[in-house]
């Protein structure tokens, strides 16, 4: 019974996560409801010893109409990762800011606010970060068409059209390659 | 020595210093390149740089004082040059050195920098002010060993005029002040390296830290003036140290020879040491060179 399995058992009866599994051998991932995220993270950080905060990322489930926030923390002694996930609504996307637990969460949240449009309540500095003076919708959302934006805003250099269309190759060629 | 020749001699004075100064800076960049095991620029590179800057078609100015800053810098440096005799025979290339003395030269050296600081002030770039502040704070450190050395010189030769000091050093190697008051010479060498901008002391114009300090906002023709005045300033300090400690020079060849030997010591220091912080520089200058100078002074008072 490695340390991760014991942890899995503890978490299951403490937080009753919807899904709790091992995507990789030293990584435990569990999906909890919005209100339990802070509890889970502080439990992992203070009680279990997952001191190091690895990253916060956001996954765009367009079909379900949900954003999924993924908090990854690392245990320096046991050398294992734990991943806390939660799903928030896509249209009215907002979540409480956890920057008081780790300072660097500020930057991650700011980037997700800019790229996905998730509003973090209580965030000290929600301002444009990489995309200065960006007027369009948050670009990392899957319903944002980059090529259309590029054709509209930028000019191509002449003489590029006839050589080849990289997009076409990506489609069928990629599937044939996979079949082989 | 008709007045016509005297006028030519006076007009040629700064241009000789400019050419030799620029040549030395070119040689310095080449030698430092060779130390880095690379070819390094051609020896005339600095002259080409200055000529390119003179031929720049545009230059921006923030106001009258900004425009006058580099002009006052060149004026101060050339005036100081005129009060230092290049040759010791009293006829050729003696500038106006018979009308001024060592203390006048010491203060004239700083006049150019202060005039420049006013131009930098109107430029309005905070980097410029930082560079000037660093320069003036560093000056507190550099000035003390230098002044102790010239006090020892004045006490030893009982005169403040540079020409008389040269005359008293005549007659062979052993009469040079370098060997008569060696400790004072060593103390003054530290401040010599500092004022030449050798690496541990090139604090005001550090490109990495304060974007070339006072020269930040100056471009085109103003930068040309500043580079040529830096070249003349380098040669000025070399001739001053040769006159004070190495017995002056009878003709131009000896002058170039002696100044080059002194210039090589600057190269050794520049290419070896990394840059000081301002307070480290002042602390260093008030500790070792000042103590050496004070010992020389005590020896002088006892003698």
């Amino acid at each position: 019974m490695s340390y991760l399995e014991e942890l899995k058992v503890k978490i299951e009866n403490m937080f009753s996560p919807e899904k709790c599994y091992f995507p990789k051998e030293n990584l435990l991932s569990f999906l909890v409801s919005n209100s339990e995220v802070r509890g889970a993270l502080s439990y992992l950080k203070d009680v279990e010893g997952f001191k190091h905060f690895v990253m916060l990322s956001c996954v765009d489930w367009l079909e379900e109409g949900k954003f999924e926030l993924v908090y990854i923390v690392w245990h320096p002694e046991k050398k294992v990762n734990a991943m806390v996930k939660t799903k928030i609504d896509r249209e009215k996307a907002e979540f409480q800011s956890l920057h008081d637990m780790w300072r660097q969460i500020c930057t991650y949240e700011r980037e997700i606010w800019e790229m996905f449009g998730v509003n973090f309540i209580g965030h000290p500095r929600l301002e444009p970060f990489i995309l200065e003076d960006w007027k369009d919708m948050p670009p990392m959302r899957r319903d944002f068409d980059t090529l259309h934006y590029v054709n509209e805003h930028y000019e191509w250099r002449e003489g590029r059209e006839e050589s080849y269309k990289p997009r076409d190759y990506i489609g069928e060629a990629f599937d044939e390659w996979r079949k082989k | 020595m008709s007045t016509g020749m005297r006028i030519v001699d006076i007009i040629a004075y700064p241009f000789i210093a400019f050419l030799i100064g620029m040549l030395y800076m070119g040689i310095a960049r080449n030698i430092i390149g060779r130390i880095h095991r690379r070819w390094g620029p051609p020896v005339l590179q600095n002259l080409i740089d200055v000529f390119k800057l003179y031929r720049k078609r545009e230059a921006g100015s923030h106001g009258v004082m900004f425009h006058l800053g580099p002009i006052i810098m060149v004026t101060g440096v050339v005036t100081c040059l005129y009060f230092i005799p290049m040759l010791s025979d009293g006829r050729w290339l003696k500038g106006f050195s018979f009308d001024g003395d060592l203390i006048l030269v010491t203060y004239l050296m700083v006049l150019g920098a202060l005039g420049m600081a006013l131009g930098v002030g109107q430029g309005g770039v905070p980097f410029g002010v930082m560079g000037v502040t660093r320069g003036l704070t560093r000056l507190i450190g550099l000035e003390i060993p230098y002044f102790i050395a010239i006090i020892v010189l004045m006490a030893h030769y009982n005169t403040a005029s540079i020409n008389k000091i040269i005359e008293l050093q005549a007659g062979g190697l052993s009469n040079w002040a370098m060997f008569k008051v060696p400790l004072a010479f060593i103390a003054s060498l530290f401040s010599f390296w500092g004022m030449m901008g050798a690496s541990p002391f090139d604090i005001p114009g550090a490109p990495q830290e304060v974007a070339s300090g006072p020269a930040t906002e100056f471009g085109g023709k103003y930068l040309a003036l500043m580079m040529s005045s830096r070249g003349i300033f380098g040669f000025l300090k070399l001739t001053l140290w040769v006159d004070l400690f190495m017995g002056g020079a009878a003709n131009l060849l000896i002058l170039v020879g002696k100044t080059f030997v002194l210039f090589v010591t600057v190269l050794f220091v520049t290419s070896v040491y990394s840059r000081f912080k301002v307070e480290q520089a002042v602390d260093f200058m008030w500790r070792y060179p000042t103590i050496i100078g004070l010992i020389a002074l005590v020896i002088e008072m006892v003698r």
Binding site: Y149, V150, R157 | K52
Partner: protein
Amino acid sequence: MCTDNPGVWEYIANWARKHSIWVLAYGTGCGAIEMPPTMTSRYDAERFGLRGAATPRQADLLIISGYLATKTLKRVIRTYEQMYDPKYVLALGSCTINGGMYWDSYNTIKKLDLYIPVDVYVAGCMPRPEAIIEGIIALQKRIEEGRAEGAKKYRENIEWYKKNQREVFGDEMLPDYTWNFEGGI
């Protein structure tokens, strides 16, 4: 009397400009890492007269080393306008030519010479120091023939450049005191 007609005086000036180019130490993209090896011992661009300049006021050559996000483009244009007249631009990497790897990214520009006049392009997804030195030699040849007049080109069709820039920046344009001047010493 700065004569613009290509007399002997201008020829000598161009010779001097060719042999002493001051590069603005300003890495805008992934190519910035190629600059140190070009300047240090193995490739030593200093023997051609290249030297780092701390500020645009002192620089002649602006090296755009790689992709340009719109945010960086605004800074590049301000720097370019702060440089003085005989100024050149050396664009490294295919990202500056046609957008390169980021051809369909919403954030990078596709064609550099829409926004600032470019003298020499060096292709390659980050050209090695030898290619950069070849680019510099090509630039030197251009300077010697007097064709490196990017500043005049920028001044003459400033409206076209500003229109392109407005397309990308929208109404958040740079202040225009950097390029239109009244006289005065």
